[in-house]
């Protein structure tokens, strides 16, 4: 392909060769270092072939020996094209002008894409970018990506990794949220474990500190389960502070009352769709339809944006927006109390299982219908971890006196 393009740029001539021995002509060309391509047999006495301009001039001195007649049927390529353009100077000037305009315009930033992670203030990010010379229409060479990166990091503390990628005359700014360090209590701090729920202890696994409860004990919310104050364990030892930690499993009970309506509205998709188009030029939006862009009835609105570009790298500041409105039908749905209540109870138990660090051992619910709604009373018996670390300021016990 590249070879053909180079040959075309240098200029080529298509010839028709007619004679009794066209093979002799081909061999003469070969011996005379004349390269031929696209040699096509037309009939027993005629063939067509393509050769470069230089070879065509060289061919003229061999013609006497070949016994064939050569006729030019087409001239094509750069030199011939330029010769034509020399006459049509307005067209030439226009062509040069368009090329020049493309070169000039490709020096500017036409498209700025900001892709920020959830939690990053996009408005503030755009403002910081603008202050640092990154906006649609900015001169590309004036943008220092290192400076921009540093400015974003100093202005927006929530930012983690920043990636600035040039795609032709578009700049994509991808910003990731910073990884927040999880809150943790200093491992050397004197901490204890307190109960987050009331229940009956089923299992105590203390890996630090002094356990204060044993299986079978009933505990209340906030009760200290493992203390940081460790008494002396030897006759001459002294009490000291430790880092209380471990897992305290307990039988707990969760109860809740839910109130659910027995009838509600559901939107069902219909086959009726309407398409509306708009052009987005920079910050301006040009509607290609009449009326308002706000749907009158109930419908789903799907917006698809297509960025117009020349090739994959030269993006134009023009976006075609296609709005597809799919009408939806509002349908009133009524359920029976038993089904609605059971679904609500199962959903709540499923959510509870995700919340607790343990298992649901047993559950039951009662369903009661009241004036167009249903009341569901749910009780779940669980075995779960109820200990939570916190700073323990329990005074140290008195050291034991030797007898």
């Amino acid at each position: 392909m590249l070879g053909r393009l180079i040959a075309w740029s240098a200029g080529e001539v298509r010839i028709q060769v007619c004679g009794a021995s066209t093979e002799r002509f081909l061999n003469l060309c070969m011996r005379g270092e004349i390269a031929l391509w696209d040699v096509v047999r037309q009939d027993g006495r005629t063939l067509t072939a393509t050769l470069s301009i230089q070879d065509f001039y060289a061919l003229r001195r061999l013609m006497g020996r070949s016994g064939c007649q050569v006729r030019v049927i087409q001239r094509r390529g750069g030199p011939f094209w330029l010769k034509k353009l020399r006459v049509r100077w307005v067209l030439s000037a226009g062509f040069v002008g368009v090329i020049g305009l493309l070169v000039v315009l490709s020096q500017f930033l036409w498209v700025l894409e900001v892709d920020a992670a959830p939690g990053i203030p996009v408005g503030h990010l755009r403002e910081v970018l603008r202050q640092n010379g990154v906006y649609e229409g900015a001169w590309l060479r004036s943008i220092d990506t290192d400076d921009v990166r540093r400015a974003i990091q100093s202005e927006i503390p929530e930012v983690g990794v920043i990636a600035l990628t040039y795609i032709g005359n578009a700049l994509r700014v991808q910003v990731d949220a910073a990884q927040m360090k999880p809150l943790s209590i200093d491992r050397t701090a004197p901490t204890g474990l307190v109960a987050t729920r009331e229940g009956v202890i089923s299992q105590v696994t203390a890996t630090g500190g002094q356990p204060l409860v044993k299986p079978g004990d009933a505990v209340e919310v906030g009760q200290l389960l493992i203390s940081s104050a460790i008494p002396n364990t030897t006759e001459w030892g002294t009490p000291h502070r430790g880092h209380g930690m471990g897992r305290i499993m307990a039988y707990t009970r969760h109860t809740v009352e839910l109130l659910c309506p027995l009838s509600w509205t559901e939107y069902q998709k219909s086959d009726k769709t309407h398409n509306r188009y708009a052009l987005i030029l920079g910050d301006r939006r040009i509607k290609l339809y009449l009326g308002s862009g706000i749907p009158a009835g109930s419908c789903d609105k799907i917006i698809e944006k297509t960025r117009l570009s020349i090739g994959s790298r030269l993006l134009l500041p023009l976006t075609l927006e296609c709005q597809t409105w799919r009408e939806t039908d509002a349908v009133q749905v009524t359920g029976d109390a038993q089904t609605v209540g059971e679904q609500a109870a199962k959903q709540w138990l499923s959510d509870l299982q995700k919340q607790i660090d343990g298992v649901i051992l047993e559950s039951n619910w009662q369903i009661e219908e009241i004036e167009g709604a249903v009341r569901v009373s749910i009780t779940a018996a669980c075995e779960e971890q109820i200990g939570a670390e916190m700073i323990d300021r329990t005074p140290l016990p008195e050291p034991s006196q030797p007898s």
């Binding site: 066209t22 093979e23 081909l26 061999n27 060309c29 070969m30 011996r31 270092e33 390269a35 031929l36 391509w37 696209d38 040699v39 096509v40 047999r41 027993g44 063939l47 072939a49």
Partner: protein
Amino acid sequence: MGLKDWGTQVGRTIQGAPRVEVEGERLVIERHRGVRLYSESCIRIDCPGGEVCIEGNGLTLEALSRAEVSIHGRIDRVIWPGGG
């Protein structure tokens, strides 16, 4: 060995045996000496060791130079000296 055969052998040693390469609908012959016959159904290429005959349909000479000849078209059979 006669003088003609000896000359042929020397020429073949200097120029080397022809190299025929087939890729899909394209056939390239290197170290050739010219075209003996060119038609849409048969092309005969003169080579140091003899004649290479390409039979097929819609055959065209895609490129012809002193170094190589490239043939395009539906190739049914290639006959070369010492082969079949």
